[in-house]
Symmetry: C2
Subunit: 97 residues, 2 copies
């Protein structure tokens, strides 16, 4: 999966591991490699998500509002209404209408 | 993909869309659904990553240090050395050794 990440692969992939102070370099590196692989996939998904927002923006949707409505849609309805009502209350209290 | 996300699916999946004020509810929902799908995959990966840290911790690695070394390993070597040297300098300046 291609990412925009410009880190020098060679530094990680070629360096030999050592066992230092009771720490197995090989095991440590195996964990780091597994984490890295998944982080790269996560980054690729984040990029895909960004692309969707860009695409939506391209056809006229406001990306910021889209992000807000995405978050609101994910919320439990009761929780959302509670938050919205509280916000309205606070807005009214400081004269925002 | 199973996530820990407890949102009420029914609220999103059953609600009919409307076209309001020139906004196509159907198109809007299509974007939201695509974003949601990818966000769920991203969440699943984040959980997998968390599991790896937990596994490493289980065999004696310190998770916090593992996160630090993960980040350091991803960095360009020159950049990393520069940051490390600057940190050493600042530490020395305030008497941390």
């Amino acid at each position: 999966m291609a990412t925009a990440n410009a880190r020098a692969n060679t530094a990680n992939d070629m360096t030999e591991t050592k066992d230092v102070g009771g720490v197995s370099g090989q095991r440590l590196r195996a964990y780091l490699d597994r984490i890295e692989k998944l982080e790269e996939e996560k980054k690729a998904l984040a990029d895909d998500i960004k692309d969707i927002y860009a695409e939506a923006k391209g056809v006229g949707f406001d990306a910021k509002t889209l992000r807000k409505v995405y978050r609101l849609r994910k919320m439990n309805t009761d929780k959302r209404r509670e938050e919205e009502e509280l916000l309205e209350l606070y807005k009214a209290a400081v004269g925002l209408d």
